[in-house]
């Protein structure tokens, strides 16, 4: 057994066991921290597959931004930890369903026999990031622009969902204050009209 085989089995067993404990844990903070562990180990796995750029993107974007967002939301909302009562039945059904699905996938993988598909080990003269950038800015440039637009839409949507304007708040609106005139505020009436 060479060192890469040992590393593969170590990393995959950490990912599998921590994802199993993620789906049965009750505490959401523990679940988010387990997800960080899973993403780090997957980044190691992607490094073994010569995908250096995506491995570092996974750590920087996912662990650095998305999971921190998860932790912010968990700490922002004071979620009561409830003991669920009907978890046993759901556990049984979910284990049966996922075992059936895994058996099907396993049969597909070994029916097609991917085991002899070793990589061609062609050492390219440019690095992985350069190759991805070359594809991204020539063939897939339209998809790249659409991705940028999707991120913009996500920002606007996330703000618009949570933006609440209270009707009866005492907050001053400078625009309305400027538009007020003397006539809209002041009314002169004669004394004998009273």
């Amino acid at each position: 057994m060479d060192i890469l085989t040992i590393l593969f089995y170590l990393v995959t067993s950490v990912v599998i066991f921590s994802s199993m404990s993620l789906v049965i844990v009750n505490n959401t903070v523990h679940a988010a921290l387990l997800l960080v562990l899973i993403f780090f180990n997957s980044a190691i796995l992607w490094l073994m597959l010569n995908a250096e750029f995506l491995a570092i993107v996974l750590v920087l974007v996912y662990v650095g931004a998305v999971l921190v967002l998860f932790l912010f939301v968990i700490m922002l909302l004071d979620i009561p930890v409830k003991k669920t009562t009907d978890k046993k039945l759901y556990l049984l059904f979910s284990v049966i369903t996922s075992l059936i699905m895994f058996a099907e996938l396993y049969m597909i993988i070994f029916y097609h026999d991917f085991s002899n598909g070793t990589n061609l080990n062609s050492i390219s003269e440019v690095n992985n990031t350069y190759e991805i950038g070359l594809m991204l800015f020539t063939q897939h440039i339209f998809s790249f622009e659409v991705t940028a637009f999707i991120l913009l839409v996500a920002i606007i949507a996330a703000i618009a969902i949570n933006l609440t304007i209270r009707e009866r708040s005492l907050r001053q609106d400078p625009g309305k204050q400027i538009l007020e005139t003397k006539e809209s505020r002041l009314k002169i009436i004669k004394g004998e009209d009273l």
């Binding site: 085989t5 599998i16 049965i24 998860f70 369903t97 895994f102 991120l151 996500a154 996330a158």
Partner: protein, 101 residues
């Protein structure tokens, strides 16, 4: 020697575990979103494995797009969860029945 089917079996196992997670966590919508992230991770691993063993960089470009879209999706999902918690004061999925669908 690690072959292609080792990686494929690993990613299939991860996908099935996250499906079980969606079944189990009916009381907490945040854990459900985390299971979806796990599913996306296993699909991305599959893409990278095929890209590595067939020596084609297009799979990795696709993973880049999936990562960007998944980040946008989780941002909007978390915003919906925050505003839902503000209205209902709970994250249980079987209580979300306002639309009576």
């Amino acid at each position: 020697m690690i072959t292609m089917s080792h990686y494929l079996v690993f990613s299939a196992l991860l996908f099935c575990i996250s499906i079980a997670g969606i079944f189990i966590n009916r009381k907490n919508i945040l854990l459900l979103l985390m299971s979806i992230e796990l599913m996306l991770l296993s699909v991305n691993t599959n893409f990278i494995v095929f890209s590595h063993f067939s020596d084609d960089i297009t799979g990795q470009v696709f993973v880049f797009f999936i990562l960007a879209v998944a980040a946008a999706e989780s941002a909007i999902g978390l915003a919906i969860i925050v505003s839902l918690f503000r209205i209902r004061n709970s994250l249980e999925i079987n209580l979300i029945n306002k639309l009576k669908g």
